[in-house]
Amino acid sequence: MRRRTLLTTAAAGLTAASLAACGSGTPGQKAEDSRAKSRTNVEFWGSVFTTPENAWYKKVVEDFNDAQEDVFVNYTVVPADAWDQKLKAAQAAGNAPDMYIKSGRLDTDARTGLLKPLDDLIEAKVFDEITDQAKEVSQYQGKWFGFPLLLEPQVTLLWDKDLFEKAGLDPEKPPTTWHEMFQACEKIAPLLKNGQFCVGTAGDPDTFGWTTVAAQQHVAGHLPVSDDWSKADAMDPKYEDLIGFYKTLQENKWMPRQPLGAGNSAQPLGEGKVAMLSQGSWAMSEIAADYPDKVKTTGMAPWVQNDGDLETSISTIGNMKWLIDAKSKEPEATATFFTWALGGDPEVLKPFFVDTQFTKAPARQKVTDVVNKDPKSKDAPWSSVVFEDIVPFCVPESQYPFDINAALGDAIQSGMTGEASPKDALKKANTEIQKVIDREDLAKAHKEMESK
């Protein structure tokens, strides 16, 4: 082989190897810990959350492993975009982790036997401290199937006070109605450069699906299925008004046609690409962690409503619960960790709520009391907004399968972008929802869920 050819081949090989290496690696895998050898091992899967949450999860596992000598918890971080398929594949293969974290309602998972009830594993007095709102989203047929870590509103309004001031708006007075939001956008739009928008909201059907559940309830007084889950009920003209709200934002180019970031991220506001953002309360902790310069100029308030009523179904509330897999080989050891981390000394949980900037409500009153006493709470004015202005007026997440949320999300997106009229979009959603109802026999499932 000629020297030049050899060098070319070697260079090509090296480039190929480097590029191939970019796509490899096993996230979450770590070297065997010596403490694991003599103890009961508990496999714990978590996902990627905000920076302070990730740090707390890592720390709480380490602290627990150091605090006792019987149980070793092995924490594995599964990327959010791989979560569904990885967990489902593990469940199918019968090797799901002993415990994992889940947002959303537990009813379907409990009904289909994926979860182990916690009542026999954790002392009843530990559950007695849990707030009613948290209890509602963690129980199924009166049994505990999840241990709630927190409650957080999933839709709030964040706004850029600087931009409001420049637009001649009161920086401390955010819009409360759809109409006020349009008026604000009229004033803000002339100040925006190419690539900047007045409002950032959901941009894909799935995100529209879960972020508008409270709004669906608010505008129409019901969700898009009948109470007994036997009939689709998405044709209500009130839902056309909801689509009309997003359509107006879209037609005036006040919101982007393509999402500017992940559906649950505050990135667009942090990067100054939007003046207002619809996002969960966690967005404020993301701003504080990743865009600290923006903290003082960012406000948080309840999300706008059609009628300005900010005390009725203004957001869904829920999120992270710790669960034990029904096939866990070590449920008792796993429950020991639950009790220590979530049901024991409030000081263990305090850093979680302080470091996430008081944007989440603890699921236990004792923890709330400890967190509120922290001096840093005075520097978090949004804390009172979350706890006093939003949390009390939230509704639980929807209990039915996510396909129904996605169908209505589809309708909002296609109606908003003009692909279909709002009426036609809802008609299609109604057909899709009925299809899910029939396919999964939801009327029967609902009856089963209601029976105690």
Binding site: R4, T5, T8, A12, T15, A16, L19, A20, C22, G23, S24, D81, D84, Q85, K88, Q91, A92, G94, T108, T112, G113, L114, N194, G195, Q196, F197, G203, D204, P205, D206, P256, R257, Q258, P259, L260, K273, A326, K327, P401, F402, D403, A406, D410, Q413, S414, T417, E419, K435, R439, E440
Partner: protein
């Protein structure tokens, strides 16, 4: 050649010792065994299991319920399944012909330029093939970014407004087709180069003596001579393209408004969201039937022939 044919036509004419034949057969089975074991374990058995499970409502942790052909009826009656198949065929039309033509042109260039330039060309064209599809997807998502992406910056230069490449149903499938072609070009070009090098040079010399143009040489010599390779690339390209799911999964998750929900992604989305997985398994079975049928039609239309000297 004729002697070989005669030998093949009358194998019994030559005395063969049965023990030797048995030894040969045994050796053949031994050689085939690893592949058969792997195929049986990872293809045949899972396929049988999947067919069986497709008749059940299965949620992993509760006893499965036999539902007969309900899952198949649900899939066949689902518009979105057929729309996904149709979209997959559109995606094939968007990617496979472009990929074949580009590969052919690049391969033709690679065999006609100097060795050094040819090597450089081959390396450049092959590099995307070793890049992970996920990495490529993320890179293209950044290129297509609505606010800050390089593509919108480029079109802004000529006075056009930002386009929602991945947010507008009119653009989204095409926006995914581009990285799909880019990623697949390396392999098809290398195969095409190998095929072109196999065409006897004497054919071209004779054609040139007759005054044939480049187009005539391509049409009457090159294309017929590499027909089998083209058929191979067409069928494998078709199957790979219609089964593409990595790019839309990472880039759009199937949106906007299902505009990029290709068949496999449709099945995958059902698998990860549905309470029971029988529907996804039945959909996968039906997709298998559809792909098999279309592939056999392609084979029938574009007959594979042995080359004759």
């Amino acid at each position: 050649m004729s002697a070989l044919r005669e030998a093949a036509a009358a194998p019994d004419a030559r005395p063969v010792r049965s023990s030797a034949r048995r030894r040969d057969s045994l050796m053949a089975y031994i050689m085939l065994a690893p592949v058969l074991v792997l195929l049986g374990t990872f293809v045949v058995w899972p396929a049988i299991q999947a067919i069986y499970l497709s008749f059940f409502d299965w949620s992993f942790y509760t006893p499965s319920q036999f539902v007969g052909v309900k899952n198949y009826a649900d899939v066949l009656g689902d518009d979105r399944f057929w729309q996904a198949i149709g979209r997959g065929l559109v995606f094939v039309v968007m990617t496979v012909p472009v990929s074949l033509v580009l590969s052919f042109l690049i391969a033709s260039l690679a065999v006609s330029v100097s060795r050094r330039v040819s090597t450089l060309l081959k390396i450049s064209i092959y590099i995307p093939s070793v890049i992970s599809g996920v990495i490529a997807s993320i890179t293209f998502v950044m290129i297509y970014d609505y606010s800050g992406g390089i593509l919108n910056a480029l079109i802004n230069v000529v006075g056009l407004p930002n386009q929602a490449w991945l947010g507008d149903p009119r653009w989204a499938l095409g926006a995914i087709a581009l990285p799909a072609v880019w990623l697949g070009l390396g392999i098809s070009t290398l195969i095409m180069i190998a095929a072109l090098l196999d065409v006897p040079q004497s054919f071209y010399e004779a054609a040139e003596l007759e005054g044939a143009s480049w187009w005539q040489r391509t049409r009457y010599i090159t294309v017929p001579q590499i027909k089998n390779v083209l058929l191979f690339l067409l069928v494998t390209g078709f199957v790979a393209s219609i089964q593409q799911y990595e790019l839309p999964l990472v880039m759009t998750a199937g949106g906007p408004q299902h505009a990029t929900e290709l068949p496999n992604l449709f099945i995958f989305n059902h698998f990860r969201k549905d309470t029971y997985v029988g529907y996804s398994i039945a959909a996968a079975m039906l997709l298998f039937a559809v792909l098999g049928s279309i592939s056999s039609v392609i084979f029938r239309i574009v007959n594979s022939e042995k080359l004759v000297d």
